[in-house]
């Protein structure tokens, strides 16, 4: 039972792969890049799902897969012309099939009418074929009813006692099954029987298990020895069988060979003439064997049984010079197998994660050791220090390699989006084309998994809110079909995913109006275009009034932003009226480590992610200016940049520190605005292992995660964006308070 459960798990894993392959193929066909092999691959994928599903009795899945497969077969054989409509139908069927697979795995109710409707459409499409009709659903019911299929095919023989036997009894007429029978069988194998590696003697032995048997070998057709063809067949067997088994069971023994022999089976119900068997089966077989032995003394050893024997000796007698050729042939497939994609192993994710954890510990340990060595005042060029350097390199390499295990291409998630696009396009009545680039870009598996929801939401938004209705597009001089583009690329140690549409762009007046109505901003707030665009990420911005069936589900862009931030990522938006909107996600390649700058603030040790840092500098008195009541800016190369004291934002201290006493760390936030973070000092730069604070403790404002430093102390990793935003809202609040008190 356990084994079955494991196999079932394998089945569903494989289903996922096959569903991906199927969809990939169908999309290729849609882009008219597919060829016959593409259709074959799609067919095979569906066929495999059906095969596996049958084994687990997933009847709904089998039935639908069969109908789907039949229509695909029509496509494959050219009976069904491949038109855009047909491909669309296939893609929609693929979606239904995916859902059926998932419901079979996770449980739940499948919308039966949807399946029925799809089945009908598929059957109809298959039936459109002018040539010999592809039988649709009824054929499925017939050939895949497990009992019927089993009874029909898998050759059953020997057991009068096996439970399977009972099911056959019901399939044949009662009167024959009633009593003991005597069969008179005449069996003359033809050479083809032997060339297919079947064996007359084996069949006789099987037959003997059914009851009492007498066998006589008719050697009348046997030619003189020198005329015997070693691969010929000359014997006829006359068999007299008394058995309780019915005719069907007897015939089934010959099922595989019925076209390769002359066979006649006469059945008589045993009554009066109880012939005592004069010879046992064993005796007969012994006699046959003796005859064979007699013949084998001759030059041609195995005329009676041409199959099993002559081959091996023949191979052995192969002339010697041929051997090198054989060796070459052997090496070639070996080389091929090396290129095979099959050179992978499946590993439980938990094991990889455990390994990653351990490597994380190793990194920490190594840096602690390095620190101890430095503290001990050991010379940099001493053996210990040099050895430690090597260890550091190795540790890094191990870490990179382990991370690479978890890295996966974004392709599957991109493919999943093509389905979302189809569904939303259907629902909104818009015509949409999804263009993807950079599917091979690799990202940590966890990052990929957690991207699905945000991306789905963004795609829905892009189609529902971004793209105009077809008629409006035509009016605007754009092609009727809208384009949604997803691009993934690696950029400076991060992966950037852009989701863009060529729609109308963000309606800023409307966004502003909504934000004012919802009290997110003051009616007269002076906002730049970018800041207005950014409002759609504000909590509470999307509400029922703006949610349609499509982009709804109660998730706003604020949730999208939060989930991206939880991944250590950033999301930004840029929009050009009339030309569309682009969402840009910037994500870390891994969630396990981070390059950081270790700084001190008010006696605390903090880590600033290196990816956010632009530069560091020592502020001069002349460059620091006050702005309003509390805010300060620093002049850098002619532009003014807000100064933020990390210590006071995080409430480490009440009074702002003197900028001239500290260091300014210039950071860039997700929306590309710059800010200078005031810290007291810089300790150094280091790779740190990220330990989630949220899983172990809870969310803390301004803190992204924690880490363990080389000296064993825990340090928090700053959430730069939150700190910058926090300082702004401080300022904004102060401003608002001032205005209110003034009024």
């Amino acid at each position: 039972m356990d084994t079955m459960a494991a196999i079932k798990q394998t089945f569903f894993q494989e289903c996922e792969e096959q569903l991906t392959e199927m969809e990939e193929g169908l999309l290729m066909i849609e882009r008219e890049e597919g060829d016959l092999e593409t259709i074959n691959a799609v067919f095979r994928a569906v066929h495999s799902i059906k095969g596996g599903a049958g084994a687990f009795g997933l009847d709904d899945l089998v039935r639908f897969a069969h109908t789907f497969e039949t229509t695909l077969d029509g496509m494959r054989s050219g009976k069904l012309e491949i038109t855009p409509q047909v491909v669309k139908l296939m893609l929609r069927s693929a979606d239904v099939l995916s859902d059926l697979v998932r419901i079979s795995r996770d449980g739940g109710e499948m919308d039966a009418t949807r399946v029925a409707q799809m089945t009908e459409e598929l059957s109809k499409a298959g039936g459109m074929a002018p040539a010999p009709a592809v039988q649709p659903a009824p054929a499925a019911d017939f050939s895949f009813e497990p009992v019927a299929a089993g009874g029909d095919g898998a050759g059953v023989d020997e057991f009068g006692f096996a439970p399977v036997q009972i099911s056959f009894d019901t399939l044949i007429s009662e009167d024959v099954a009633a009593g003991a029978h005597r069969f008179e069988i005449s069996f003359t194998p033809r050479p083809e029987l032997y060339s297919k590696a079947n064996d007359a003697l084996r069949l006789l032995r099987e037959l003997g298990r059914l009851g009492d048997m007498e066998v006589a070998c008719d050697v009348a057709a046997l030619p003189p020895l020198d005329e015997i063809d070693p691969e010929g067949a000359y014997l006829t067997w006359k068999i007299d069988l008394s058995t309780d088994a019915d005719e069907k069971s007897v015939r089934e023994i010959f099922e595989f060979v019925e076209f390769d022999c002359d066979l006649s089976i006469d059945v008589n119900v045993i009554g009066m003439d109880e012939e005592s068997a004069s010879q046992t089966v064993e005796a007969i077989l012994a006699q046959v064997a003796a005859e064979e032995a007699a013949q084998s003394e001759a030059v041609l050893p195995l005329a009676v049984e041409p199959v099993s024997a002559p081959i091996e000796p023949a191979a052995a007698l192969e002339p010697a010079p041929k051997t090198p050729v054989a060796a070459n042939q052997q090496s070639q497939p070996a080389a091929q197998s090396a290129q095979q994609p099959g050179a992978t192993i499946r590993v439980d994710l938990d094991r990889v994660d455990r390994l990653i954890d351990l490597v994380g510990e190793l990194v920490i340990n190594q840096s602690m050791l390095a620190q101890r060595v430095t503290e001990a005042g050991i010379a940099r060029l001493s053996d210990v220090a040099v050895g430690l350097d090597d260890l550091e390199h190795l540790t890094r390499e191990i870490q990179d390699s382990v991370m690479a295990i978890r890295a996966q291409p974004v392709r599957p998630i991109f493919q999943r989006m093509s389905r979302v696009v189809r569904e939303v396009a259907d629902m909104t009545g818009k015509s949409v084309r999804l263009v993807t680039e950079g599917e091979n870009c690799e990202v940590d598996k966890t990052v990929i998994e957690r991207l699905a929801d945000p991306l789905t939401h963004m795609i829905r938004n892009a189609i529902d809110h971004g793209l105009e209705k077809p008629e409006d597009r035509v009016k605007a001089g754009k092609p009727e079909q809208g384009v949604v583009k997803m691009v993934a690329a690696h950029r400076s140690g991060r992966v950037v995913i852009e989701v863009s549409d060529d729609g109308a762009g963000i309606n800023r007046a409307k966004v502003r109006e909504i934000a004012v109505n919802k009290g997110i901003i003051e009616a007269d707030a002076p906002l730049t275009d970018a800041e207005i665009d950014d409002l759609i990420f504000a909590p509470g911005f999307s509400t029922a009034a703006t949610i349609s069936d499509v982009s709804g589900r109660g998730v706003g862009m604020d949730v999208v932003r939060r989930s991206i931030q939880a991944l250590g990522g950033r999301i930004t938006i840029s929009s050009r009226p009339g030309n569309g909107t682009t969402f840009s996600l910037s994500l870390p390649l891994t969630l396990a480590v981070l390059d950081g700058m270790v700084v001190t603030v008010a006696g605390q040790t903090l880590v600033v992610p290196l990816s956010a840092i632009v530069e560091t500098l020592q502020p001069k008195a002349a460059d620091v200016h006050g702005l309003g009541e509390k805010a300060r800016v620093i002049a850098i190369r002619g532009s003014f940049i807000p100064l933020v004291d990390v210590g006071s934002v995080l409430s480490y201290r009440d009074e702002e520190a003197d900028p001239l006493q500290g260091v300014a760390v210039m950071v860039e936030t997700e929306n590309q605005s710059q800010c200078a973070l005031m810290v007291d000092g810089i300790i150094g730069q280091q790779q740190v292992v990220i330990k989630s604070l949220e899983t172990n403790y809870g969310h803390v404002f301004g803190v992204a995660a924690a880490t363990i430093l080389g000296d064993g102390r825990v340090a928090v990793i700053l959430d730069v964006d939150a700190i910058v935003a926090g300082s702004r809202s401080d300022v904004a609040r102060a401003d608002a308070n001032r205005k209110r008190s003034a009024a």
Partner: protein
């Protein structure tokens, strides 16, 4: 002596099921993912019976059977075809290609073993 069975199927699920059923019956199992791979595996072993799927990438079951039947070393190995089709034309084609018999998917482990015993004593 335990029989060695080569199973050729591109579906991991089916390979695992075959393996479970055959191992339970005390047989040794060698696996291949498609016809080409099957022929490679045959370079290194001489199974008692081959069980092969029909629909496979690179080289399908028909091509594989023909290749095995054309090989001096392996042509006497009984080959059972795994098929979901009980339709006769698939069986016919398999038979013409040189299959010794067939097994209909989904298969019952008992019938699977029976079919094997029928072609290999």
């Amino acid at each position: 002596m335990a029989k060695t069975i080569l199973t050729v199927d591109d579906s991991r699920t089916i390979r695992e099921m075959l393996k479970a059923a055959l191992t339970d019956a005390g047989m040794e199992v060698v696996q291949a993912e498609d016809g080409v791979h099957g022929l490679e595996v045959l370079e290194t072993c001489d199974p008692d019976v081959i069980i092969t799927d029909i629909n496979m990438p690179r080289m399908d079951g028909f091509g594989f059977i023909e290749a095995v039947r054309g090989s001096d070393r392996h042509r006497a190995i009984p080959i059972l075809v795994l098929t979901t089709e009980s339709v006769d034309d698939k069986k016919d084609r398999a038979r013409r290609a040189g299959a010794s018999g067939w097994i209909i998917k989904p298969f019952d482990p008992v019938k699977l073993v029976t079919a094997i015993n029928r072609v290999a004593a």
